[in-house]
Symmetry: C2
Subunit: 111 residues, 2 copies
DNA sequence: ATCTTATATCGCAAATATACGATAAGCAAT
DNA sequence: ATTGCTTATCGTATATTTGCGATATAAGAT
């Protein structure tokens, strides 16, 4: 039991869910905020702004990167991260389209 | 270790993360779609549309309800679920506001 | 009262996520 | 070559999620 059944859903559902999962932890939202508050790639010091250990922050960064929400140049010391706006916008659109599709079709819901 | 540190983040981050978590599984997105495709509360038959056991679907419905995304009249047999548009819209706004704030501040990112 | 049907809940197993400390890896400067 | 700094990865513990079958519950039908 408890096999992963996620693949049995359609690609749109999967990709939106994956995006949601990427931002489903306050730490990762906080990281995105930190990255966005600067007009430049941020190198390090995210750790000091979060109540988490360095290794944990590194893990969250990795997840954001795997989800394609941020880009990172991991060159030796002083890695450099910044938000991948294209991906972010793509998913934003995807989310909104789901939302509005739902909205339109269901104006006269019963409860 | 592995204590839950989510409470140490600010409320906005927590609430957005909680919403994202609610829709972070394809099954739950699929359920929202099913609920939205009808102009009435749907009673049951969601189970038939998903590749999951009845008990599992029930669990996902519960999570969506806990997150406030759907309302449900659980009156004996034939429970009745439908989308809570207010909550959904609230979170949509919240998400967009995060997104646009980020966007504006970071037009000239370096990578 | 009993049966049927629909849904929720319980109990459990397996998978994933969260978090940390310890350690490795990479490079700059000495 | 060694030191120091920054970041990634490994190993591990614990928590949470996912999923199912079995069982309970609730109400309508017989």
């Amino acid at each position: 039991m408890a096999f992963n059944k996620k693949e049995e859903f359609n690609p749109k559902e999967q990709s939106l869910a994956a995006f949601a999962k990427a931002i489903s932890h306050p730490a990762r939202i906080a990281i995105l905020n930190v990255l966005a508050k600067r007009n430049e790639c941020i190198c390090g010091d995210i750790v000091e702004l979060l109540p988490l250990a360095q290794s944990t922050v590194s893990q969250h960064l990795k997840e954001l990167k795997n989800a394609g929400l941020i880009d990172g140049n991991i060159d030796g010391p002083r890695s450099c991260y910044c938000i991948n706006w294209k991906a972010f916008e793509k998913f934003n659109t995807e989310f909104n389209s789901l939302f509005t599709t739902l909205k339109v079709k269901n104006e006269k819901a019963c409860c």
